[in-house]
Symmetry: C2
Subunit: 340 residues, 2 copies
């Protein structure tokens, strides 16, 4: 029997959740959509009544996909635990619950075992973390990861659909010979044709909240707090698709060729690493609209014992957010924890 | 007495060399300019006769700044040693001589001692290497660098003025809703609104020629072949200004604050690292048109003993090429090796 499905938040990620629930034929009823304001939206020909959240949005036995914005009026904080307590399974895309000890933080290819039969509140990790752990988990299992140094190239859509529009406005201004920086930009500086190495604010150590997410979430998902992680997160003038330079120091030897073979067999990963075909090296543009994590530039790093370098790209709205959330729901269905 | 000055190559870097020689009042005669084809160019109101190279372009006691393109008909290969043998001091911007044992590879803030009284051929390092070594040399002297992991965000002008134009053409096409990738692009993939993790071709280890330059040139300039370096070089959709995430593993402890104070006093470096003023964090756009190397995001990396993270930005045409070359000439004058 199909279970009730609720989508909370109807920005870029909320809309993609709606599409993916249908595209991937999740065994649920027609999704009901809730957001900050009541309205009617049309998406792919469907006329969608958007309501405001109340308890009845979260029926027992249902599944609720949360994709609200964070900050003031954080809907996850307000309704996440309430919905779960009512017996509705919540998959939350915000950072609200990710580091709570009782809330599993799940990437289905990596730690589906974290989903128990009574799990009612599940956190969807940060976009940058998801794509990295999909690519490194098989390597961690094979050779053990001692330390990760990661630098990101994150697209503007990661800051919301509005932020991506700001980039296009800035680009048009620059091409018209006008000042680039948009007055209403969420970014500290002009993002079109530029790189801004600040995502979230820095804490007293100088690391930003986005960097801390990558550090802590990676350890939680891989279930190994001994892994050293240093991250620098950088926003670039790209609309969709995050890229990452990932440098790994392993506990045991693993050649680039062995890593390539491991990842070729890994779920959710596509290796594009033919040195004779540079035009196939994955870029953010190639990842946009795809559900896979693309891996290229695999090579042994001679500067350290058992070092490995790789380049990891994924669609931050899909695998980095909506696809992963829907895949968590799929895992719950296939385990019989939903809809049974 | 002013010495004769020759500029070979009159693309983006050659033109900037001409400007900087005047701007910085290098004690030389009016520069004579040579390139592949004879022509007249107008730059800042000067009418410049561009000739084709012959031996007489390189008089004894003169200084020749080479900024020709590499590849077929490499003018540095053809004329660099010839000019030096004639007693003209050559400062060459290409990669032709950088790793030759008898040719010093010089960044004046870092290894001016490599310039001897009889040095007639000097190599200007790769753009990405120059800005990194300016920022890390003071740290190396204070605490010793064990290992560097660097990821770059390199602008299109690093591939020549033509490549930068290609990016603008692609950007216009994308904003007009047309396919982005330019047919005549030097890049493997669309570079406007994208990131392409390939600069130069990969060798049998998977590292590209640009990455190898960063590895080998860094060791040569710092005079320490024991430093481990892993580099991933990435082209981004930015016109001018290269950025780098630099992760250092030191031999001795050095706090972020100590590093900040060291770099604040270091020549050629401007530290912009006020966490309360994110809008001042340096970006490629901020670096364009400046001669300094800008450093931000200094913080201790807890994932390793004595770890340090930093973000380094510079104008790749200025400090990464023309400014550094003119500074080498200035160092030769101030040492009395030129014009004495």
């Amino acid at each position: 029997m199909a279970v009730p499905c609720t989508i909370v938040g109807f920005g870029a990620v909320g809309k993609l959740l709606y599409r993916l629930v249908k595209e991937r034929a999740l065994p649920v009823e027609q999704p009901r959509v809730f957001a900050r304001t009541e309205r009617t939206e049309v998406l792919d020909g469907d006329e969608i009544q958007v309501g405001t959240v109340s308890e009845e949005a979260f029926p027992e036995g249902g599944v609720a996909l949360f994709a609200g914005s964070e900050g003031v009026g954080n809907v996850s904080e307000q309704w996440g635990r309430v919905a779960a307590q009512r017996g509705c399974t919540v998959i939350d895309n915000s950072s609200t619950f990710r580091m709570e000890p009782d809330v599993p933080l799940v990437v289905p290819e990596v730690n589906p075992h974290a989903l128990g039969p009574d799990t009612r509140l599940i956190a969807n990790p940060n976009c940058s973390t998801i794509q990295m752990v999909v690519a490194i988990a098989p390597i961690h299992r094979a050779a053990g990861i001692e330390r990760i140094v990661v630098s990101t190239y994150q697209s503007t859509s990661g800051a919301g659909g509005y932020a991506a529009e700001i980039m296009w406005d800035e680009a048009r201004a620059v091409l018209d010979g006008k000042p680039g920086k948009h007055d209403d930009s969420p970014f500290a500086q002009q993002i079109a044709f530029n790189c801004v190495p600040l995502i979230g604010g820095p804490d007293q150590t100088g690391y930003t909240s986005e960097e801390r997410k990558m550090i802590h979430e990676t350890r939680k998902i891989l279930g190994d707090d001994s892994i050293g992680v240093s991250a620098t997160t950088v926003r670039v003038g790209v609309e969709v698709g995050h890229a990452e330079c990932v440098n790994l120091q392993l506990k045991q030897p693993l050649s680039a060729q062995e890593a390539r073979e491991l990842l070729d067999r890994a779920p959710g990963v596509v290796v594009l690493d033919d040195w004779a075909a540079p035009e196939r090296t994955p870029t953010p543009l190639d990842s946009a609209g795809r559900d896979d994590v693309l891996v290229g530039r695999l090579r042994e790093d001679e500067s350290v014992e058992f070092g490995l370098d790789m380049w990891v790209v994924a669609d931050n709205l899909r695998k980095g957010a909506a696809t992963n959330a829907v895949q968590i729901a799929e895992a719950l269905f296939s385990k019989g924890h939903l809809g049974a």
